[in-house]
Subunit: 434 residues, 2 copies
């Protein structure tokens, strides 16, 4: 499959440069060419043999092409729980609403509910997600069947997922197909015994691999860890050798200066989840402090039970907006930084270094954004428009692995939205005993 | 023009009830009937003469119909300034970027740029706006020509708008046509002399009319007023008799308990603008304190130079999210309260009591929301879905004064989006001297 996107403005994210007028060619899942109109003309004239016969040529009408957004923390299958447990304190939310429903979910339910999330990711320009949940094999199957890029992370905890399963998945899912990969990880310090955590750290050592987990999401979690171990979660986990090969933390809202120094020293990613932290009243992450310290920040939606939308545009505005509020400074964390977080940093945090920017040889995971929409006009500054006034309603096309998965409101997956909605309703009815 | 919307779920906002399966009929700009399917069948059987010949009957496919959102504070024509002056402190933003451009804007520019904002309002389900800007006659003409519901408010200040013009507009625009109305108002305490403010208070007395203004948006503004007059802005303005007949304040971020008591005693509306307050780092308004005290809250986008989107879905999520963060309580300001603010309270703050809910005799200003979209599935709770996961991408139809103005991405105004974009680019080029 070869596709040519022309008459576009291309934002490669390879540097801090502005978008340029140009075109982009794909070949079998990879980017073959991304350059200015003049460079494209040169290529055609000087190396005609390098220019493939295109299966489709798309006139982009001056629209923007950029790398797809990377959703660097989520629990996709929790779509079932959207708007089912809102306006509750975290402990009631988790113990009275989330856990009882999750206990009734089957592997097949999770397969279907994960696919339901893919639909929503596509509408928001998200081309890959970093997913922590139960039943990793059925989640990988959903990604393969739908053609959505999925990076799973281990969810080891005292109740439902063992380090042995995580090791098995690590070996099974990495390299098995183009859509799936897998990272070592655990749910959180407060849901894992010290012994379990030691086993994860041993896996990190064995595979020389990064480790991810929920870390320091709430003030209560940090207080609990200090009581148990006399250290913050970041310091305690580091003391176990957990981060010898990198990784990072989801949320990282409540941290100390020493914690930030550890994150920096270990090369860890801070994955911020502002929508979830806002709706659950967890707090505002110190994003500007991370940037100042040189800790790379990526962005996740978290799951639809806590956010409740899987919308990278909403998250991007929240990242910069909450930083400005927290710092009492309207110039804090500007739009350009936020775009980097949502694309390049997300990709690298997820081990998708080959899908971070638009350049020859990189994976063809990209999106087309309508600039001829009222919220994008006039076009004073494209990148600021994207972050400050952009909306999922501006997403016109989403390509993953060189294939068009979403275009002008239509989905190109193996199952239709209507089928997935109907299946989700049946799952809901069964779990509710109806 | 008679339109029938059937196979719908109708959220009248007349009370705290859930949406019901039913239909809605319009007749010449008003709602003729809104009721359950059974009530509609009864009406047809028992009073066939009351059922008009419909010009159009729309199968809503189970989608939601609710009153259009009311944008209770904005500066529409500032579309020109979107993404032109971001990431700056408020004083630099205003003095170095906003004022110099505004000084070059003509009446015709403001006419065009206001219409550009209408497009964006429609995409987000906004059917009316409460607009404070320059050149009220050209703004009223834009509303009349486009068929958009416009409530303007006086912008008296020391530099550019006099109480005499506000009185003239108050007499000229109220009752002149179905789309326009006008309220007394001034820009802010810090841009008006005490003498000017006294003249506005005299107009309030003369017309027994409410008054609106920017009040207590920033901590600096409050400190300045205390220095000048020894009182907070709310207390000072009240001491002038400004609010003898009601009205309200835009922003109201930095207030005291005494201020809140005055707002309550005078029956004032607190119009909150969370997107703008976030992006300009002004602070978080005490929305839950207003609710507890019985001060009605409405929601505004503020202008596109400060927000930068005119998107009621983004504002609704911010209202509840920021309240939860501020109160450190995930149950603070729930979705049902927020929906009331965005519809009923907004309408009443703007003097549009006849467009507040869906009921016979009310103005036919309404929207259709797609429930068959990934971010709305499964449908556990429609109202929570609207506020917590809803998006402007779910708006399928917008009706104002019984006329369809936006439908499935298409606009039905007197000028096309492409023409308005081109005109905005020409205005930009002229102002920039290009």
């Amino acid at each position: 499959m070869h596709i040519r996107l022309y008459n576009a403005r291309i934002l490669t994210m390879a540097d801090d440069g502005e978008p340029f007028a140009g075109e982009l060619w794909t070949a079998d899942g990879r980017i073959l060419f991304a350059g200015t109109d003049a460079e494209a003309a040169d290529r055609r004239r000087e190396h005609p043999a390098d220019v493939p016969a295109f299966d489709e040529e798309i006139d982009c009408n001056g629209d923007l092409i950029l790398p797809g957004f990377k959703n660097a923390h989520t629990h996709s299958a929790m779509t079932l729980l959207r708007s089912r447990a809102d306006d509750l304190p975290l402990d009631k939310w988790l113990n009275e609403q989330i856990f009882p429903v999750e206990a009734k979910m089957t592997e097949e339910d999770i397969y279907t509910l994960t696919k339901l999330a893919f639909l929503e990711y596509l509408t928001s320009g998200i081309t890959a997600c970093f997913d922590m949940y139960l039943t990793p094999r059925s989640i990988a199957r959903a990604a393969r069947d739908a053609g959505f890029r999925m990076v799973q992370v281990g969810a080891v905890n005292n109740f439902s997922q063992s380090p042995a399963l995580v090791e098995e998945m690590y070996r099974e899912l990495n390299g098995a197909d183009p859509y799936n990969s897998y990272m070592l990880g655990f749910h959180a310090e407060y849901t894992c015994s010290k012994e379990l955590l030691g086993q994860i750290a041993a896996l990190a050592e064995k595979y020389q691999a990064p480790v991810y987990a929920h870390i320091s999401e709430t003030a209560g979690e940090v207080a609990g860890c200090k009581e148990r171990y006399g250290m913050t979660p970041v310091a305690f986990l580091d003391s176990l050798g957990m981060f010898a090969y990198g990784g990072g933390g989801y949320h990282l809202v409540h941290v100390t200066e020493d914690d930030i120094r550890i994150l920096k020293d270990r090369g860890l990613y801070a994955v911020t989840n502002p929508g979830s932290n806002t709706k659950l009243a967890s707090g505002i992450a110190p994003v500007s402090d991370y940037l100042k310290a040189g800790v790379p920040v990526a962005i996740g939606t978290d799951g639809p039970a806590s956010n409740n939308a899987l919308d990278m545009f909403r998250e991007m505005f929240l990242v910069t907006g909450l930083a400005k509020l927290r710092d009492n400074d309207a110039s804090s964390v500007d739009a350009i930084e936020v775009l980097k977080m949502a694309t390049v940093n997300g990709a690298r945090a997820m081990g998708l270094d080959d899908a971070d920017i638009l350049a020859p040889g990189k994976r063809a995971d990209l999106i087309r954004i309508d600039l001829q929409a009222p919220n994008m006009q006039p076009v004073n500054n494209i990148r600021k428009n994207l972050v400050y006034s952009g909306s999922k309603s501006n997403v016109r096309l989403v390509m993953i692995e060189g294939r068009i998965k979403y275009r002008e409101g239509n989905f190109f997956l193996d199952e239709s939205p209507e089928d997935l909605y109907a299946q989700a309703e049946r799952i809901k009815a069964r779990i509710d005993g109806k």
